[in-house]
């Protein structure tokens, strides 16, 4: 796809012009100071060039005023960079609440993408234009990084935890995805595309899929398969915390700490159950590390999120699955 000889990346997301504006401001200030210094040096070098080997220039006293000035003024200017950059950074890290949910699992050397309604893609991500998209990402092996230059979006994808990022595409088109954290032999081949489509085209694309089930309903199946409901049940036979309404709730731990149950907490509780033991429960939950893939974990998380009203509900796909009664009546 030869796009000629570009010197500046396309702006294809709501964040891109904001980043570029800050960049241009930085460029302008840098250019100003670099030129100021370069011209000063050149001017002094010529005006005061040595004309004879024996000349001795006059001593020049330092100037406190000047020192203070060229300390304070750059400091104030850099503070403007700081405030603007921080504001942008906070915006980048606060996805809108009604964003479309996408799960991404990176592994050497490919991106496995799954939409909430179940559509799977490899190395390609179809999204609608004008809609916020929130990515929940993890790695199966080493650290990767999901980078879309046209969106000015980048986030390290780390094994053992979830990383989130978001964007809102503003222009239909096809944009590079790069892995931007060195991950081994085929790091530079771990690339892909974001295909931004008109909303209608996107709906058609979603509907035209192979009809795979949604993340949440796949998660419900895993929940049953691994007999989680044996202990996690709403009645008196429960030996583990009730998972309904858990997502987004504040949880009190054995050691006195409290935390908000987010995706990372749920994932960790499945693979390392005793790391954050809930107050009032015994450390009897077995670990499912190695028994459930990262994609499976994402599905389980989606399922548990669907049990909570606080969980986001992507429009355009079937409503969240609700498990009414556990499959088994009695413990094993």
């Amino acid at each position: 796809m030869d796009q000629g000889f570009p010197l500046f990346p396309q702006q294809a997301s709501s964040m891109a012009p904001r980043v570029d504006n800050l960049y241009f401001y930085l460029l302008a200030v840098s250019f100003f100071f670099a030129t100021l210094i370069a011209l000063s040096v050149i001017y002094f070098a010529i005006r005061y060039r040595r004309r004879s080997e024996s000349e001795t220039p006059p001593g020049v006293e330092g100037s406190l005023k000047l020192e203070v000035a060229w300390t304070v003024i750059p400091l104030l200017i850099t503070l403007t960079f700081f405030f603007w950059g921080t504001k942008l950074f906070f915006a980048m890290n606060r996805p809108p609440t009604d964003a479309l949910e996408i799960s991404i699992v990176g592994k050497q050397w490919m991106w496995k993408i799954q939409h909430a309604d179940g559509q799977r893609e490899i190395n390609e991500l179809h999204v609608p234009v004008g809609r916020a998209v929130r990515l929940t990402m993890t790695s199966e092996d080493v650290i990767h990084d999901f980078f879309v230059p046209a969106f000015r979006m980048k986030k390290d994808v780390v094994p053992g935890r979830y990383a989130t990022a978001w964007f809102e595409a503003t222009r239909p088109g096809r944009y590079h995805v790069f892995c931007a954290q060195y991950c081994g032999t085929k790091h530079s081949a771990m690339t892909g595309w974001v295909e931004v489509m008109d909303p209608l085209a996107f709906q058609n694309w979603l509907a035209g899929g192979t009809g795979s089930e949604s993340l949440a309903s796949a998660g419900a199946k895993l929940f049953a398969l691994h007999a989680c409901n044996t202990c996690h049940r709403p009645d008196s036979l429960a030996r583990g915390p009730n998972l309904e309404g858990l997502f987004g709730k504040t949880v009190k731990l054995q050691d006195g700490r409290t935390l908000v149950a987010d995706e990372n907490y749920i994932r960790e509780s499945i693979v390392a159950p005793n790391a954050k033991l809930v107050a009032g429960f015994q450390p009897i939950m077995p670990t499912f590390q190695g028994l459930i893939s990262e994609e499976g974990l994402l599905q389980l998380v989606a399922y548990i999120k669907s049990l909570s009203k606080a969980g986001p509900s992507p429009a355009g796909i079937p409503p969240p699955v609700k498990e009414s009664a556990p499959e088994r009546e009695a413990p094993k």
Binding site: Q254, P273, M285
Partner: protein
């Protein structure tokens, strides 16, 4: 730092025994300057050692706060009796070392030799006890790696505890071994009457090193051995 130094090729230090020109290295102007340099050098080196151990202490702190229960559980499998004994041994060895420095400074050659050897023996006892402890850990399958076994739900976190245990106590033991080597050299030199009130800098800076290694243990002991005693 003192600025005025008389430019001199020979030292002006004329006190007691063995302050001959052979003790003053050619690039120093006076014995005082040489002593200041040696002392400052050892202090700077000890600062680097703090940072060196610091990385491990940081890792320990991070995981201890993350896996408090697991670390407490794992810690209970350490032998607190042997650990306490070793702590006392090291503290006494610091006493003997400090007295050795004092002996050198006051010209008590025999006392210096006895105290240096006592320090070495105590260091050796410490290492012997550590070897016994390591043997126990090996026997109990608590050495991280393919043969690690830890009952209960905290196996993986306990393995991290033991990785840090072996790394930190191992690094400490290595420093002890080096320390005993240094003391050996000191003993050999002291036998020849090398040290006296005019020149005992090597004893003094070795003492600093020994005290530092002791202090590291003073931190290691509670962090590794004592954390499981109250959390239930």
């Amino acid at each position: 730092m003192a600025d005025a130094r008389a430019p001199a090729a020979a030292p002006s230090d004329a006190s007691v025994t063995h302050a001959g020109p052979r003790d003053l290295q050619h690039h120093f102007d006076t014995m005082e300057q040489q002593r200041d340099a040696s002392s400052l050098g050892m202090w700077v080196f000890l600062v680097t050692e703090i940072l060196f151990f610091g990385g491990l202490f940081l890792a320990y702190t991070v995981y201890r706060s993350e896996y408090a229960r697991a670390f407490a559980e794992a810690s209970r499998h350490l032998d607190i009796t042997l650990g306490t004994f070793n702590t006392v041994v090291l503290i006494v060895s610091s006493l003997t070392m400090a007295l050795a420095v004092f002996s050198a400074a006051t010209g008590r050659r025999r006392a210096l030799l006895v105290l240096l050897i006592a320090t070495m023996v105590l260091g050796g006892v410490f290492l012997g006890v550590k070897a016994v402890e390591y043997g126990h850990k090996f026997h109990d399958h608590l050495v991280p790696g393919p043969h690690f076994r830890f009952p209960g739900p905290y196996a993986r976190q306990a393995e991290i505890f033991y990785s840090l245990y072996f790394a930190m106590t191992g690094l400490h033991a290595a420093h002890m071994i080096v320390g005993i080597g240094i003391l050996t050299v000191l003993v050999l030199q002291a036998r020849k009457g090398r040290y006296g009130p005019a020149y005992y800098t090597p004893v003094e800076v070795s003492g600093l090193y020994w005290h530092f290694v002791d202090i590291v243990w003073i931190f290691l002991f509670p962090l590794l051995y004592l954390i499981g005693r109250h959390i239930h």
